[in-house]
Symmetry: C2
Subunit: 759 residues, 2 copies
């Protein structure tokens, strides 16, 4: 072991020891700051470690015995902690593999290894049954044989490049590497381009030996590691594929499997990079472009392969039960205002980092809160904790519960706080950007164990350092990173939080119901990426590489607990709309630039096609095809949005100023009127109309996962995606719809400002 | 073989056949266009192939028997073709290895393979003696043992990153991969940072299996391939390290080896990637940043290695003779105006692509020109052909000859045309940008064998297509690429030619003497990169992968021959200064932007250091160091250059307009006066003062190789490099010096315009 590593490990251990359990104070604290401080001091990392060891002791995917056992164990803890708790069960479509094959037949037969081999020394990773083999939930089943084509990350731009390379995937099986966009888009786009099957692998360039030493020597993905996952087309909706918009209760009205738009039509499987190397070594045709090269020790070629590949997947498509654990502490003063907080408990295999590292924070928070109640404290608002099942296949547990209780949530929930997998490192916060100030307030109170500055201050440092060498070559992204660094450098401003797309349980709250939401985690230093969705995501891996000493898992409990206490006990609304107004202003500018750039690109391309330059620049000894012809980009009338954003900025400024001046001195009656206006203000941004092209489940007009980015965020999605997809009627329509939503939000602010100003 | 490849090969063969020898017309052509057309028709690719096979049949590095034999063979051909030819010999310092070792000692000893293994089926690459083993000319010799540190490409920015990673190379041996900058900078920068040895290897990411199938299955570098080369610090001067400024004649006054600033002080060796993998597998310490990862199947770590490495190089430092073949066709009308044309004949081993593919074009041109003379034609100007020796170790043959004949060349040479290695593909032209129009004129007359449009038109197509996805993330480079694409898309403008740095024999002409120069080649489709400076750069490799059918080697002879004829016979100066004025205007803007960006970066960093954000963003479990502190950037007074560029644009416009209107109708007397003003106009841009910091050999104030880029160009180098290196006094001084040079050039243009306008 290298000396600096030895020292560092010793330091981490010292921090962990310093964080061992402190007793909860016997009497209630006199003020909010003390309350939060005492909460943080009570976090017990030893206890969290023991829970993780237990919860991650066996595979716990949906339908597995240990998944149900974990739900029951978590329920028993909540009850022990004094919460009003129960399990809420739903019946969902959740396929499990019956049979699967990936092989090369013929003279030199070869068969892929679809189960992950044991790792010496990791007791969890040596468990055999009932681990789910290589599998992608909601792929289409099938039995196909065809040559392979390599499609890089399998994203939209990759198919444009393929066209220029003169290669079609029609009737072929594609092999795509993980990365650059959401997993589910790879088989979806393959299917849309006529492929009959899809294989996805983790390239060591992105996820393997190139990133670090492989497990068990280091945190990175070993050659036999396989990333499972869902490939449901969540661009339509999240949750159970058969029950959009409603809870998957026993008697719910269901679509048939064939009717559900989210289930793919072609078979797909994930494989390890050890197996991918065998398959990719069979490729013929053009050498791939520079950006398509992975880091296997081979020449990457686009294909087709010189052998046909046989891919077969057959699944059991029966309904399965899922188990959400729901626990409540009733509020003393505002019992009908809810603070909701969740983290899922299902994993793909043992799931120690994903999701159980966040789950043990949730449980620890519940323990301390229960203890505080036992000692006489009561939250002013009702606190609802959800330990979700079935997040992995497509956010099913949270979505079905929230759909079932939609009306009540829209009436009562003032905040949803989500966590998921966690790791050593920096605070990462995303969510409703009118909560930026709230997040900053919490983050500034919490000390980072490694640097002893606040986690907010450390976050600011990271934003600024990362901006020196932005991890993107996209000009819009670089501009955003630089702008955020300038904000982070200004102590008078709140550090930015990220706009959220999808990929964890906040989606239904934020994007379907319009409930203001936050997603909190620590990470970037401890590395759980290398075992993501593999059977090597174990207790041993987590405690050796991801968060030694459970320092940051404990810090997550400290952070979320502080936020919960603050939100549960405050007498004033949490929003600071000025931040949101600035962000929306920036998003609109981005979209205008995007439209201009697309217009210019089309004009450039048209001239290039007229001058025949693509053919002239092609190497005639290689396959080539013409570029996809761009369509002319009309002018879009943004004036309604321009006005709405201008109005939003003015209204937000007026509200923020009035709040700063008068909020502390409001009469109880005025406070009540203020809450009446502000409690559901974020829902004005998520009107019933929803997004176009079948995406009506997504109501939020500020944040949505992208139609063709999967988890990735699209801000002002009605307009932005219409521009991206060249749906000009939708663009003009959603300029108006989005402007209306912003104006409704501004209208609420104007009412609130008037109340604050005593009018 | 893939079907499209089969078809393509057949097509290439058809082209080659169509290009078989045509007879030179018996009578002199009536006009210039016919003359050039007939020249092109006379190119005989079969003959060229035979010469290549002969010239590349044995290793021909400086001092080898075959190097001398080739010079004598080339001389005999010139004589046979009717030229006045002789060999001019110089005595230069050229080290050759006596002994060398690269090994790991201790418990698990390992020794690097410093000779390249035979390739089955390639008769050239199976030759054993007297091939030069792995070697870097002008490294420092030594016998050192130390741990390794991996320094990525070993460029300046990499050492800044190393500082942040908290790793020092002091007392260590560095291992750097080829690429990103000139080879010689790697040991130089290592030495400047306290390293005691340097190993350079070709990473498969840049030069190996990742780029294409490896030889003999494809063109790319096989695992055992080694790139030799020179590491003389050519930022001071080119040519013999002991005789700067003067020819290395037998009686020249010489520096001692110790006095010469161009010879390094530490030992250095190149190795194959097969060997590098063994060395890099021993690295400990931090995983390297993303951009530092190569494509060997390992985890790249920065080091140090867990074993010491023993590196020993011992060279014979005696003087060696080199053999330039000089051949002349005397001009009929303007015998004291010379068109000089050269290509070197020495290689590192067999050197089929580099340099002999260009050498056979040169010889073929000489054959046809000789034939034309034999049939009665005479060039108006004197044509001087140079077949240079010792280019590889540092442009010695061309430099020593040009230094010896400097006065005569500055008086008589109106153009130098250089070629070097050649391949199938697109025209690449670089040089004095007031010759852009001349290059365009030639290129528009020559048909591309693959597309049947002119090579100029194809060049424009490539510039435009490449600009769609610029191969750079540097904003200044991207801006340049986009600007050039806009020019190339405008048929009313000349397509741009590149500014030249160094790396071939034009350097002494362009940068030391100020003679207008061009460097011409074809490439980008046929790939010679994979065998560059290895013993696999053979006749077999060249004719299979680089230029099947010798189609483009023949085209190079057609292109250069046409240019030579045009330049030799025109009655009017070749310059069109408007293009140069536009380029210089752009260069100045780039430098101003650079200064502004540096100023902003310093200000940002100062604030970040004050806020302690670098330490806060560091992972305390890993080694880290503070960033290199940037120094404040003062304002620079560019006004003298602003005025000079403005003047240049105006004068160039006036000249170009006068030329277009009146040049064709000048009286012989006026023409003579015009030539008196224009013949040496480019020398005004290369005044005697030269560049600062010991770089006085480089006189040209528009073009120079970079102090820290090696071959890479620095335009307006006196000012640009002063800004880059933060020599503010030099920046202000060279603003003035460069402005004076531009004003002198503009003054000549004003005189010439007056003559053209009949004044």
């Amino acid at each position: 072991m290298h000396r600096s590593m030895l020292l560092a490990t010793a330091a981490a251990f010292a921090v962990a020891t310093a964080y061992a359990a402190s007793p909860v104070p016997a009497t209630g604290p006199s003020d909010e700051a003390t309350l939060e401080k005492n909460f943080r001091a009570a976090v017990n990392r030893d206890e969290m470690r023991d829970w993780l060891k237990n919860l991650a002791s066996e595979p716990n995917h949906v339908g597995s015995p240990h998944d149900k056992a974990n739900a029951e164990f978590i329920l028993s803890l909540f009850k022990k902690f004094g919460w009003d708790a129960h399990i809420e069960t739903f019946q969902v479509l959740y396929p499990t593999p019956i049979a699967e094959t990936l092989e090369i037949t013929g003279a030199h037969p070869w068969t892929a290894t679809l189960q992950e081999k044991p790792i010496p020394g990791d007791t969890s990773a040596t468990a055999k049954d009932p681990a789910l083999p290589a599998y992608l939930a909601y792929q289409g089943d099938g039995d196909v044989t065809a040559p392979l084509v390599y499609v890089n990350y399998g994203m939209q731009d990759d198919y444009k490049t393929l066209a220029r390379l003169g290669v079609s995937v029609k009737g072929k099986i594609v092999i795509a590497r993980y990365g650059a966009g959401w997993r589910g888009l790879k088989p979806l786009l393959a299917q849309e381009h006529g492929a009959i099957g899809c294989i996805i692998y983790s390239d060591p360039s992105d996820d393997g030996y190139s990133t670090d030493a492989v497990y068990p020597n280091g945190p990175a993905r070993p050659p036999q590691g396989i990333q499972r996952g869902s490939v449901a087309d969540s661009s339509y909706f999240n949750g159970d594929p058969l029950t959009p918009d409603v809870g998957a209760t026993a008697d719910a009205k269901r679509l048939t499997r064939e009717q559900s738009p989210v289930i793919l039509k072609i078979p797909a499987l994930p494989v390890s990079y050890a197996d991918a190397q065998v398959l990719l070594s069979h490729m013929t045709g053009r050498v791939v472009p520079g950006g398509w090269r992975g880091r296997l020790p081979i020449t990457y070629r686009v294909g087709p392969s010189d052998v046909p590949v046989h891919l077969m997947v057959k699944s059991d498509w029966s309904l399965k039960p899922i188990y959400d654990v729901i626990a409540t502490l009733k509020g003393s003063t505002y019992p009908d205002q809810w603070i909701v907080r969740g983290n899922h408990h299902d994993g793909w295999v043992e799931g120690a980092s994903d999701p159980l590292s966040g789950q043990i924070a949730l449980i620890e928070e519940a323990r301390i809160l229960g203890d505080m109640v036992r000692k006489g404290w009561r939250p002013k608002r009702t606190i609802v904790y959800g330990s979700w099942d079935a997040e992995e296949p497509g956010l099913l547990g949270s979505t079905e519960w929230a759909e079932t209780h939609a009306a009540e949530l829209m009436q009562k929930a003032i905040l949803y706080i989500n966590t998921d997998n966690n790791a050593r490192g920096f605070l990462a916060a995303g969510g409703s950007q009118d909560l930026e100030h709230f997040v900053n307030g919490v983050a500034d109170q919490i000390s980072d164990p490694e640097t002893h500055v606040s986690i907010g201050q450390r976050r600011r440092a990271v934003i600024r350092v990362d901006a020196l060498e932005p991890h993107s070559s996209d000009p819009a992204t670089v501009a955003r990173i630089k702008a955020e660094a300038a904000i982070a450098a200004n102590p008078a401003k709140d550090f930015p939080i990220d706009a959220l797309g999808s990929g964890s349980d906040y989606s239904v709250f934020l994007e379907h119901l319009g409930v203001p939401s936050l997603d909190l985690r620590f990470g970037e230093e401890g590395d759980s990426g290398g075992v993501y969705h593999s059977r090597y995501d174990t207790f041993e891996h987590h405690s050796r590489f991801v968060d030694p000493g459970f320092v940051y898992d404990g810090l997550l409990a400290e952070t979320v607990g502080s936020a919960i206490l603050r939100a549960a006990d405050t007498d004033l609304p949490l929003q600071k709309p000025g931040n949101l107004a600035d962000d929306v202003d920036r998003y609109l500018k981005e979209i205008k630039k995007l439209a201009d750039a697309k217009r210019e690109a089309q004009q450039t391309q048209a001239k290039m096609i007229a001058d025949n330059v693509f053919r002239l620049a092609d190497d005639p000894t290689k396959t080539s095809g013409p570029p996809i012809v761009l369509k002319p980009v009309p002018q879009i009338n943004f004036s309604a949005l321009d006005s709405a954003v201008k109005k939003l900025k003015a209204s937000a400024k007026a509200y923020d100023e009035a709040f700063a001046k008068n909020a502390a001195h409001l009469s109880p009656e005025a406070r009540k009127r203020l809450w009446a206006v502000m409690q559901s203000i974020d829902q004005t941004l998520a009107p019933p109309v929803g997004l176009p092209v079948g995406r009506g489940w997504y109501k939020n007009l500020i944040y949505a996962p992208g139609r063709y980015t999967g988890y990735g965020t699209k801000t002002l999605p009605g307009v932005r995606e219409a521009v991206e997809d060249e749906r000009w009627d939708d663009a003009n329509k959603y300029v108006k719809i989005t402007a209306d939503a912003l104006n409704a939000y501004s209208g609420r602010l104007d009412q609130a400002a008037a109340i604050l100003n005593g009018k």
